[in-house]
């Protein structure tokens, strides 16, 4: 089992990730689309379970956290890829997206990267280290 302090930090981080994903998708997006909604729902549930496990230092915490991190990383990479590819497609159709468009896309990517790429990677590495004797 990883250290108490690390469990607390990652537990809180996963709680925050769950809140950001839920808020971003269900309050931030202007309309509903089942694939995105279901993915967000599943990820929120996994992050919450992982947070609960880590904060309570449950024996299953590491396993659930690995699944949550892998899911977050996969969805994060997919989201950033789709954003980048869509921006490229729109840029091909409409020409330069302008400074405003570039800033918006960069901000969206910047918001997604810490929670859905960087944090899962760090956590996966930490979980791996915790497993090593």
């Amino acid at each position: 089992m990883p250290s108490r302090r690390a469990s607390l930090v990652f537990g809180v981080a996963n709680l925050l990730t769950a809140a950001v994903v839920a808020l971003g998708v269900f309050a931030g997006l202007p309309s509903r689309w089942a694939p995105v909604d279901f993915a967000a729902l599943a990820l929120t549930a996994l992050e919450l379970a992982s947070a609960a496990g880590l904060l309570s230092r449950a024996p299953w915490a590491a396993r659930v956290s690995r699944v949550a991190c892998a899911s977050a990383l996969a969805l994060g990479l997919l989201a950033v890829t789709l954003l980048a590819v869509t921006a490229s497609w729109l840029s091909g159709i409409y020409g330069p997206v302008g400074r405003g468009g570039a800033i918006v896309l960069a901000l969206v990517a910047a918001l997604a990267l810490p929670y859905l790429v960087v944090l899962p990677v760090v956590q996966l590495v930490w979980l791996r280290a915790g497993k090593t004797p």
Partner: protein, 570 residues
């Protein structure tokens, strides 16, 4: 999974994503060559309808069908749409196809069974199919091509079904460039080339467009579909009053009796059909719930009619209406925007625009009649609008599009100057400058416009209304001795917007796509591709032009009168 493996996976992902982005952009970007069109779609249009079409190699090439159509429709117009670029298009999902065509520029080249048909921008514009595809109601966004309509047109030409087309045909995006043989190249108005005569001509044409739509009783053609010249359903008292105000402005400036007569008819319609009691006061509105904006804009229109001596009698109606406006004001300066006639009580809700309109109306009424209660109410309204009403975390970085407040600020400046309100308006304009499109930032003719991004054709009404407010701010800032550098920036910002309005006004617009070009001459469309003409579109643009003339040359009646002769009839 070790750190090394994760980093390798991430590096591979980043590389693949970058390569995909580069490839996708390159595949979908058009290689436009205007000098060497791939084909020329020659169309004969008459009365806004397509008579016949031929695909020719070069503009000017003869074609038997075109010759026959020219002979049978001597008043028709031959139009060339040159295919200057072609590229792949995503057919599925429908939203992708919808977003794949740049509004007003792109169409489709569709090949089935060895035969190619073109769906050109003129085909789509004549059916108003741009900016009518993907709808996001929560943010009021409509963008993209109406795909079912586009496919139905093509299916009809191929004698098949839309689903068959999607399944079997090869669809490609095509960029078109329109030219009309025999038409002299139109002068392009730019911020630098725009003259006061340009502005005068545009303002008079805008007023004359409205005049043609006022019926004998004084009711406007509220919403007109330009391609068919059909009057569409709907009506709105605040917009009726706003259009009446613009006609009154132009009647005074132009001395055109037709404009004056239309202004008076429109005002009398308002007075006789919409005026009623709201408790002890008079108000404008026909339902049991009456809004503040109708009365406020009616006051502005009536004051203008009286102020300019078109009919001094309208001054008599103003005190009763301003008493209603004052009664709707809260102690903190905010207005209650509705009134319940059944309960004889105000409804304390706030809607967009009405507080600014009421403040301006009270200011104008005071300038005409000198009632100190109107000045006090207007001053408190302005202080609230530019103070507590726009005070929240982030209010320095975000502004709405309410455009009456700054007109009220300017109107009050000589009688009750409010430096805080001027500062608010200058900050709003500076914010607008950051959002204003520059040349080449979008695929559209959008220099001077404000928009939602490069994928949506910019709306022109916000350009007009922000110009009204921006020019009012410029006027007040000059009188206040504002920072010359900031005034120069604001002046440039306004010039860019006004030049855009002048370029986009139907003077005459693409005549061949209109059933009755004379009927819509002088109108201001909703956008470059939205040709539903509502009366407030031309009112906001027109009132902005009037403000520019007042600011630019302190225009007198003579200056505009002269321009009537040049532009009186299309």
């Amino acid at each position: 999974m070790s750190l090394r493996v994760i980093l390798r996976v991430l590096a591979a992902w980043a590389l693949v994503t970058v390569v995909m982005c580069v490839v996708i952009r390159r595949v979908f970007a058009l290689d436009v060559d205007e000098a060497h069109p791939r084909a020329v779609v020659a169309s004969m249009w008459s009365g806004g309808s397509l008579v016949t079409r031929a695909v020719i190699a070069h503009a000017g090439d003869r074609d038997a069908a075109l010759d026959a159509a020219l002979a049978s429709h001597p008043a028709g117009t031959l139009v060339y749409e040159s295919v200057v670029g072609e590229g792949p298009v995503l057919v599925q999902p429908e939203a992708a196809l919808s977003a794949s065509l740049v509004a007003g520029r792109d169409g489709l080249a569709v090949t089935l069974g060895g035969r190619t048909e073109y769906l050109t921008p003129d085909d789509l514009l004549s059916r108003q199919a741009y900016d009518d595809g993907v709808r996001v109601p929560s943010i009021g966004l409509v963008t993209g091509v109406d795909v079912p309509l586009a496919l139905a047109v093509l299916a009809d030409r191929f004698g098949t079904t839309a689903s068959d087309l999607v399944e079997r045909a090869r669809l490609r995006r095509a960029r078109f460039l329109r030219s009309v043989p025999g038409d002299p190249p139109a002068r392009t108005v730019t911020p630098d080339s725009m003259t006061d005569d340009d502005v005068r001509g545009a303002a008079v044409a805008a007023a004359q467009f409205l005049v043609r739509g006022v019926d004998p009783e004084g009711r406007f053609r509220y919403l007109v579909d330009a391609p068919t010249n059909r009057t569409l359903p709907g009506y709105d008292w605040p917009r009726h009053a706003g259009a009446t105000y613009f006609l009154a402005q132009m009647a005074a400036l132009s001395h055109d009796p037709e404009i004056a007569w239309a202004a008076l008819r429109a005002a009398s319609w308002l007075r006789d059909n919409a005026s009623g009691a709201c408790g002890p006061h008079r108000c404008i509105g026909t339902g049991t719930r009456v809004d503040l904006g109708s009365t406020a804009l009616a006051v502005i229109a009536f004051v203008e009619l009286a102020r300019t001596d078109l009919d001094r009698g309208y001054a008599l109606l103003v005190p009763g209406l301003t008493a209603f406006l004052r009664a709707q004001q809260r102690p903190d300066g905010e207005f209650m925007h509705e009134y319940d006639r059944n309960r004889s009580a105000p409804i304390d809700v706030q809607l967009l625009y009405y507080s600014g309109e009421a403040t301006l109306a009270l200011s104008r009424a005071h300038a005409l009649l000198g009632d100190p209660r109107d000045l006090d109410a207007a001053t408190r309204g302005l202080a609230h609008l530019t103070g507590p009403a726009w005070s929240f975390f982030g209010s320095r970085y975000y502004f709405g599009e309410e455009h009456w407040t700054c007109q009220a600020m300017d109107d009050l400046w000589d009688r009750a100057p409010d430096a805080g309100a001027l500062d608010f308006c200058l900050r709003w304009q500076a914010y607008g400058r950051r959002l204003q499109y520059g040349p080449g930032e979008t695929p559209f003719d959008a220099d001077g416009a404000y928009g939602l991004g490069p994928f949506v054709s910019p709306r022109l009404t916000p350009v007009g209304s922000r110009c009204e407010a921006g020019l009012a701010t410029l006027d007040a800032a000059r009188r206040a001795g504002g920072d010359p550098a900031e005034l120069t920036l604001l002046d440039r910002q306004m010039r860019r917007s006004l030049a855009l309005l002048l370029r986009q006004q139907f003077r005459p617009g693409p005549r061949h796509l209109f059933a009755d070009p004379e009927a819509v001459y002088g109108a201001m469309p909703g956008s470059e591709v939205d040709w539903q003409l509502r009366i407030d579109f031309v009112q906001h643009a027109g009132s902005a032009l009037v403000r520019w003339l007042a600011l630019s040359v302190g225009v007198g009646n003579t200056a505009v009168t002269n321009s009537v002769d040049k532009t009186s009839k299309p």
